[in-house]
Amino acid sequence: MTGCLNDLQALQLRRLLEGGLPLAARPYQRLAEQIGSVEERVLEQIQRWQEEGLFRRFGLVLKHRALGFRANAMLVMDIPDAQVDEVGRRLGQAAGVNLCYQRPRRLPQWPYNLFCMVHGREREQVCQLIERLLADNGLSDVPHQLLFSTRAFKQCGGRFAPPLLEVANG
């Protein structure tokens, strides 16, 4: 179906969704009532946004530290530029890797260009996982470092920081 919500309704829906999904039996109907539309159209709009990649996923965000995921390592590697796409894609799919990004080197202070976040309950477990990850991908000899986090000073998001960022550096 075409011509779902008008622009204003779409914007209102998006703002409402930023606050979360209502915990109702029919959450999309509830949202539709709030923007003066119908359930079907709200579902179609959300479906479209999902296909377009506006959402990473539709579900819940865990307070991972409260759940015992306290060992958090940022694995940083210096991967030759010609290989970074391929290595990034491979590591991104590996079990235990929650985030995988390419970032710029800042020579001479910072020689690493590929970042992976690995979370676990115990530090030892995270170290082993990363050792295996590097070995399995033929990366044991690339320059790399593990930066464990030891204290969180400001775990909540800043004004513009969406919840996703909670784990981007956590």
Binding site: L21, L23, Y28, G53, K63, N98, W110, T150, A168, G170
Partner: protein, 147 residues
Amino acid sequence: MDEFDRLLINRLQHGLPLVRHPWEALAEELGSTSEALRERVQALLDDGTLTRFGPMFDIDRLGGAFTLAALSVPEARFDEVAAQLEAMPEVAHNYRREHRWNMWFVLGCETPQGIAESIARIEAETGLAVLNLPKEETFHVGLHFPV
């Protein structure tokens, strides 16, 4: 948190079905009722196990500007600098890490210009050089925590 909560959390990390009666669909799958599931999720939100329920927006689509940044802070000044960053609304998720670059945080602003200004302000206020590492490519954002 009991076994059922674990089952529910692990299932919901893969997303809620996008249908008219999502909780009924899920209840059928998990052998529960729509009401019971919603009560559990509300309880987990109330006790802080969950921070949020709903869509997780792709950061690249939000229209803001973000970067990962780091400082190399002398040990004696660590808490003082942490407090300086704490006071800045554009700073999120400040973590201490075991490295010469020992303070890592995310900067979130409305515009790239805002990021540049924040960095300049942090450098002026702390007298320390900021390592600015904006994302160039995303290979994966998974964020699954099997509980």
